[in-house]
Symmetry: D2
Subunit: 344 residues, 4 copies
């Protein structure tokens, strides 16, 4: 409703039109609650197929923080903590949801949002070598995001290295896929849903930022690993009464593989904007491959820009400069991109 | 999708058509997240007006268990518990969400879902007279539902009696209004939104069962009473990224006072069904005034009925009989009702 | 220090003289912390031997509420609750410690502090037959106390009936033995430490009320069942730095089987007091076999008695009468008993 | 019991002889439980007097982790976290006890265990300037230890600077005094109990490491600030049944100001050891003023030393060197010190 062009974040619009259409068509149908309806089952099966795991548990939740809190609680013992980048969403912007569930977030330094398997291995090694480790929080799982909060990507090799360490130290691997569609549509990405299903104990396929009104689809490839997940979801207040609303959204997102390509407009727009920024002499913070563009701006120039464009504040760079973020999304049009470039 | 007629519960359909229409119209608009958009503000203002409290805090959450868990956590100190009927939703069907937040539910016997102010007073009196009360959970608030889980109603006088005790013992009053629309449309009800805003420290206006796709609107009449509620909501994983989805639903539900009359079809249908049941010789469990009908059925007859109608199992009555529940809703049509009666 | 004779409770004195003697002797020795010292290991071995389980985990904690909170947390999954008598210590007088750990106490009606295996079986059966049970708290363990809060005893047969149900429904069995010494010294009791080690997943041997200054010894007969208990204890703030203080106490309590007979003076005194009360025309509330005596007193007589004797208030009986409790202990002398009887 | 000389930590011995004597003298007295006895009241009054606060709340708890968990829970709202040095005891060696209570530990970099008021101010400033701060954990208190885990000391000026920031940002100040006696006996220290009572919202006076068998005395200078602390203590399983055991210990520790000078032998011994180490060519890690000595040792020399002396492993320094800790205590004798120096 603002007059300004907005590239502030990737969850400002509603949903992909197919989803709205299906919502309207099914509106007055009566279905069983809590995801026990046929549409939800269809959506689950489409996701299972896309992941190459016929028997996977698939559960639909409403939002990302909720999903992380539920799944981390489901995956950890009461005395365990979760290893994450210090910039991980669970470390910074979930208002202590993980700690509210009783678990410490064990943070490691990051490089543009990523942590390395080596760093995790060193952490685990030092934990078990410390004579006082039984007085410390036992690491029980690793939290990664793909793409990360900085839009960076893990490679398949990197994920497999994490898996190896997980097996060695008996910790679980969980991937937060809030923006997964933007990885799947990104040329630099070599991680498929099947890869995630192979290396992860659990992961989630983001809907909210990727074409759904709301919703995240949790996948637990090995169903024996997570008994009573339904009750855990309910206990967290995360069970949607009209579960089919989530079923409809993911059934549409996975019809004809829409989810695999829904992020393309965002990736293309981001590339165009990055090029334009550089041409116009702006300095990128770093080369982020997906739908987020981080740019170092002079504070004065930024003030002017802010009159015409909504952007995301990222962090202070120095006294004269600020890092800002532009985010494109599944619905970004060439006109949107052109408008932004025109005012840069 | 089932061939059977369903009166199993009141959250089997989608949403009121006005809501869907608005969702479609606004779909590609870009708005600020987390409820900071103009539509959400409009919805908040409509609710404030309906409650006669211009400065009330109004927050939109996704579901009932979530709302109860968030608000009880927000209203209690860490060492306090919440008084509720032993049949209260928080006591039975929230999978321990309140306890997961660290709080004990202090249950009292009910009469068709209701507790009395006298019983609560006695409880509080005995607590403070017990020499060991500092070793016990301190009661910090009262949880009521209106209508209750049995569809029964509190009167304005009854609510005021609770308020008096709350003031006397320094406990808070909270009303779960998951089915509030069915009270507001019910001739037996004398409690208005303004009354709730007067007697309660907080209450919620149910959307999920009352015409919304999903959503509950929390009202805190006195804004000074609940600082940092936004952060508490976020901490519980209960903050919807695209907050306007909730704003839209409540903006439509409170446009032209729709919410005050949206329950009428349900109340009328329930009355017709009750009369029909009695005419056909069925025994009602008790006279529930709102949109839920409780009926004592012979187990053999029930098996037959189940082939044609979906109903809710309530409880075992005796070895030969079962109490079942039919629920009507805002979208129940005369045809639906006629179909049900035809097979009874 | 009061001039009045006190039978108010069984934790008013210090410790058995052997314990004090050993404390004094070892005071300036330097030993490893946290129970890794040789005295603690000796105590653990004496307890293992008394329980007939060489490989049992034995951990020493400081108090009863703490032990219950730690062990219930260790035994339950995050989404499970604990079944207990509505009069169980965890249900009433632990200030919500179990709920603070995130777990609901699922209460059953009691008979003088006891619940029956039948009642638990019925509860579990109904839980699993309820179509909505996944929305409810999953029962994960049974909490019993032996003796109970009313001083009553379970028989070996009764405990074995609980075990059978536990195996059938995959729930754990835990016995709170805060007053276990008074059972072991009681002629009516047929439950040995070996029996407890056979039927329980975990239990604790009470020290605080049974001759120690403080301390409770947790026994986990099957060590594979409770990994990382040390860390759980630490996480609960329940790990004593100078662990040998607990080791010393239990090493003395289990030297020459002292614990098996330490309760005898209490049991004998209680029998004498019960007989005297009845002779003098007082009415016993019920026939409690161990070291607690429950007596129904006229309120006027009670006021007079209170000038000379400290007793425990138990509950209101009717408007004219009150149930009070006298508690004897390991250190009660014949003189103490005579003094009490003299003023009755 | 080991043949080796031990300087491994400062909680290896029992208690000051005065405490044992009093325990023996009072052993068979019957007193009220939970700290409601006269000895505990005497101890509370002595501490109140020493702190210059006649009306302070004084509560006795058993151990340090427990005390921190209870007090942080008592001081924070459910959505708040606690600011601490990354080396703070609550950050590292309490097995997640703070997170188990639902609170995040917000860590800042340290300098030999200390954080600065400036760093905290910057943290708070940045928190409130961040547009997303409502999605983050709200800082509600500051945790300091005095002496710190590295044996370093805050000055009175530094504490007052923290107080100023606390007032400015409405956060509370809490000091963990596990080793407080060693500060009070240290020439470099200028912080008195009265100073702590002036600047802190709460602090605790350590007993376990300072001459008691066990026990920590919590002081809340302004009693209005912490209602229902007793119930919070009970809820955490931290209430000692025979409260007088704690009362006795602190009554003795504060009789004739013993606590103010009980650390002197430790401080003197530490100074002697430091000088000896330097004379013998060892390198100190840094100049720690209190009862802990940190020394950088060659790994080969360390192995030899370990055959004769028990020391504390602190951290790896580099591939060839290790930082170790020697700890003296209230009971360290000149003979102990001489023995250590003889083998260095």
């Amino acid at each position: 409703m603002s007059e300004r062009i907005s590239f502030a974040c990737d969850y400002e619009k509603g949903a992909h039109p197919n989803i709205l259409k299906r919502l309207v068509e099914t509106n007055m149908e009566k279905t069983a609650g809590y995801g026990f309806d046929e549409i939800s089952e269809s959506a689950r099966n489409r996701i299972r197929k896309a992941c190459g795991r016929k028997d996977a548990i698939v559960e639909f939740l409403v939002g990302g923080t909720q999903t992380n809190a539920v799944m981390i609680d489901a995956m950890l013992k009461s005395y365990q903590g979760v290893i994450a980048a210090e910039t991980g969403h669970i470390s910074t912007h979930e208002a202590g949801a993980i700690e509210a569930g009783g678990h410490k977030v064990l943070t490691l330094p990051h490089r543009y949002g990523k942590i390395s398997a080596d760093a995790v291995e060193k952490y685990l090694e030092e934990y078990y070598h410390d004579v006082n480790h039984e007085h410390m929080v036992m690491p029980g799982m690793i939290y990664l995001s793909h793409p990360t909060e900085y839009g960076t990507l893990y490679s398949r090799d990197e994920l497999q290295a994490f898996r190896k360490i997980c097996d060695q130290y008996d910790v679980s691997l969980y991937v937060d896929g809030a923006r997964l569609a933007y990885a799947l549509s990104c040329p630099e990405n070599d991680v498929t849903l099947r890869d995630l299903a192979e290396v992860c104990d659990a992961f989630y396929i983001g809907g909210t930022k990727c074409g759904a009104m709301f919703g995240e689809a949790v996948v637990v490839p090995d169903p024996g690993k997570m008994p009573h997940l339904f009750t855990i979801i309910k206990q967290h207040g995360a069970l949607l009464a009209k579960g089919r609303l989530l079923g409809i959204q993911f059934d549409e997102l996975f019809r004809d593989d829409l989810y695999m390509r829904i992020g393309e407009p965002a990736i293309e727009a981001a590339a165009v904007i990055r090029t334009a920024l550089q041409k116009k002499g702006y300095r990128l913070f770093f080369e982020s491959p997906t739908n987020q563009i981080f740019c170092i701006m002079e504070n004065d120039a930024l003030k002017k820009l802010g009159e015409k464009v909504e952007y995301g504040f990222w962090e202070k760079y120095d006294d004269q400069h600020t890092v800002i973020r532009f985010a494109t999304d599944w619905g970004t049009t060439e006109e949107d991109t052109a408008s932004l470039i025109a005012v840069l």
